[in-house]
């Protein structure tokens, strides 16, 4: 649904044109009710977690009791930990599902609505359009993660005390450094979603039905997470895109343990390269009928 008025202005394609295309894509994506509803759901998760913990601990008991998502036992002492808990709670399902919906819709949704051929009439070229679509999805990953983090920070600051915090290695860091680590963690979580985004984009080029692409992507996401739990498949598991997702917690160690974080980033880059190029191969050869 991107408007393509800019199309005729310059004949030799300028880099500004790509930016214009990207701006258009971003505007259409983030103005959709569907996207806003997804972001609202994501923002609601930390609110629910925060209120639940507040109620549970109102009698002075400790939350979680050793179970629950990571960091949950620390929230009552420091609201900043709600950011980490909220990200740990949304990363396995809510965040990748939102990304899967947006990525699955990217090409197939346009084809479904009959707007893909108009987009391609403009001298953008298929490669450029695909790159723009992918950039939009990646920016959505970042936006979705930041929405969770900011919502959690607000709720945490309102309901719980803030202050110096204890890393999981037992050392103390100042609140400012804690905020810095929270930002790093949000970036690491956003980067963890790059693989799903590329997978969703590839699925999106396979079909003309936006719903089918979204369902397939989310289905793959669930399947991979289940397979990641089966011990007999341990030889394959390091190659599942979700395998190192929880490595973001390593940023809360002192000193930071980079091994798994680096593996996670490498794996996401690999998924982006393989499925990005597969999506390109498919999209270049695709018959555009709608």
């Amino acid at each position: 649904m991107s408007r393509a008025e800019v199309a005729g202005t310059v004949r030799p394609v300028s880099p500004l044109w790509t930016l214009g295309l990207l701006r258009n894509e971003l505007a259409t994506t983030f103005r959709r009710w569907r996207t806003l509803a997804l972001l609202a759901v994501l923002a609601g998760v930390p609110v629910l977690v925060g209120i639940a913990i507040k109620i549970e601990t109102s009698d002075g008991s400790s939350p979680g009791g050793g179970g629950g998502p990571a960091f949950i036992s620390q929230i009552t002492n420091n609201g900043l930990f709600l950011v980490f808990t909220a990200l740990a709670a949304t990363l396995p399902f809510f965040l990748p599902m939102a990304v899967g919906v947006v990525a699955g819709d990217a090409i197939a949704g346009e084809a479904n609505a009959g707007t893909l051929r108009y987009l391609l009439v403009a001298p953008a070229g298929r490669t450029r359009l695909l790159l723009t679509k992918y950039a939009t999805v990646v920016l959505f990953c970042l936006a979705a993660t930041l929405v969770v983090a900011l919502s959690a920070l607000t709720v945490g600051a309102l309901l719980f005390p803030l202050g110096d915090l204890t890393t999981i290695s037992g050392t103390r860091i100042s609140f400012a450094e804690g905020l810095g680590r929270a930002l790093l963690i949000a970036l690491a979580v956003a980067a963890s979603l790059i693989g799903v985004a590329a997978l969703g984009l590839f699925v999106s080029t396979l079909t003309n039905s936006g719903i089918a692409a979204m369902a397939t992507t989310v289905g793959l996401l669930i399947t991979v997470q289940i397979l990641d739990q089966i011990p007999q498949l341990h030889a394959l598991q390091p190659y599942f895109f979700s395998h190192y997702w929880l490595s973001f917690a390593d940023l809360m160690r002192e000193p930071v343990y980079w091994d798994e974080l680096a593996k996670n980033l490498g794996l996401q880059a690999l998924y982006a390269a393989v499925f990005g190029s597969a999506a390109w191969a498919r999209f270049m050869a695709k018959d555009i009928t709608a």
């Binding site: 290695s169 037992g170 929880l246 690999l270 499925f275 190029s277 597969a278």
Partner: protein, 410 residues
């Protein structure tokens, strides 16, 4: 649509179709190539990193052992990967409850109690982080999923911190700092190496087996092998840092072959002074703090027993300290510990011996010999024979050797 009618005009059309089909297929070469390059990188990089053993001046085994003894590394920090595969049946939760039960995690214990926590190292693969700055300051952290368990020793205080449950264990070391160190189960390559070197006598062959790169440092490989047959220990390899004499990697392979029983090595190590903040610990707000005394006065006693139990396979002498009424037969690696449990036929020392009786039976193999009949429990390293009249023979020896010892004992 007669098949012949189309014959004339297919040639041109088919060629076109084939060409565009080939072009379509050609694009898929890109993702396939990316995948191939990735697979090759994953496969080749470790192999390349492994190759090229460093050139170091020749050294005799004796000199190398002296080097280890003289090593006085006081400041270090690093990451240790430890894998243990004792070949114990996979008991899941039961196993850990047994372990912690045996190690003295009584009622009212804290999940941050070091003795209870570090017995987890007895099975599976774990990543540890260590930091030390002199005898007064040490830190050992067990990395878990999104959580960490740390033991911090700073001066008089010993803190255990479990970030998952936000629980703190606090103890004090009144005696020499050494006492505290001995209380911890062996986790570092150095601890294992010291145990292995204790067992070195004239039944052992010790050689220098080339060099290797461990954690990016040049190291000598010390190979320790039992001379006698009948032991389940195949070989022990210790990689010793060429500069500092610090053991960097310890591998124990069983005589039966297969994966190493114990494999503990640094994956990253630095001999620079670690930041002082590493050793500062104040319990976080709201954390549940368990003091050593509250956790039970018998902590020391129990942990001593646990220690003896863990060290039992390492050398017969250690076992002697922990259990009364025990004899040792054989020497060196083939020594077998014998003790009388008093006719019960099942170990009373183990936690919940009674209810476990039937269960333990199903794990063992029945054997008969001149001594009568009994049950053999085997792991990949330690075998134990429990006769029906209540005698227990334990050693790092094969099943046959145990039966022979029992026959001789009759």
């Amino acid at each position: 649509m007669a098949p012949y009618a189309s014959d004339d005009n297919t040639t041109a059309g088919e060629v076109d179709e084939q060409r565009s089909g080939r072009r379509k297929a050609a694009r898929y070469v890109v993702p396939v190539t990316v995948m191939g390059v990735a697979a090759a990188t994953i496969g080749l990089v470790p192999a390349l990193a492994d190759s090229g053993d460093p050139d170091l001046p020749k050294i005799t085994a004796q000199q190398l052992i002296e080097k280890i003894a003289k090593s006085d590394v006081e400041q270090l920090s690093g990451t240790v990967k430890i894998s243990t595969d004792l070949g114990l049946p996979n008991l899941g939760g039961l196993e850990s409850s047994l372990m912690s039960g045996a190690a003295g995690r009584g009622e009212g214990g804290s999940s941050a109690d070091p003795t209870a926590k570090l017995t987890e190292l007895a099975s599976g693969t774990h990543t540890l982080r260590v930091a030390a700055d002199g005898p007064e300051k040490q830190k050992l952290s067990l990395l878990e999923n999104a959580a960490e368990y740390s033991v911090i020793h700073n001066g008089k205080d010993v803190w255990g911190y479990d970030s998952k449950s936000n629980e703190v264990y606090h103890g004090t070391v009144s005696e020499s700092p050494k006492g505290d160190k001995e209380r911890q189960p062996p986790a570092l390559p150095k601890d294992f190496a010291e145990e292995a070197l204790k067992a070195v006598d004239d039944t052992t062959s010790v050689t220098v087996d080339g060099t290797a790169q461990v954690a990016g440092r040049d190291a000598y490989k010390l190979l320790i092998k039992p001379k006698q047959s009948g032991s389940t220990v195949g070989a022990v390899t210790v990689a010793v840092d060429a500069k500092t004499g610090m053991p960097l990697k310890f591998t124990l392979t069983p005589a039966s072959g297969g994966a190493a029983v114990v494999d503990a090595g640094f994956t990253q190590v630095s001999f620079a002074k670690p930041a002082a903040s590493n050793f500062d610990f104040t319990p976080p707000k709201g954390a549940k703090v368990t003091e050593e005394k509250e956790a039970g006065k018998d902590f020391d006693e129990k942990s001593d027993k646990g220690e003896a139990r863990r060290h039992a396979p390492k050398s017969g002498d250690d076992l002697g300290k922990g259990l009364d009424g025990m004899k040792t037969i054989g020497e060196g690696w083939n020594s077998i510990a014998v003790f009388d449990t008093g006719g019960e036929g099942m170990p009373s020392g183990e936690a919940g011996g009674g209810e476990l009786g039937g269960f333990m039976d199903s794990l063992g193999d029945k054997v008969t010999g001149k001594f009568g009949s009994g049950t053999v429990f085997s792991t990949r390293l330690v075998n134990a024979l429990m006769t029906d009249d209540g005698k227990v023979y334990v050693g790092m020896v094969t099943k046959d050797a145990l039966v022979k010892a029992a026959d001789a004992g009759k």
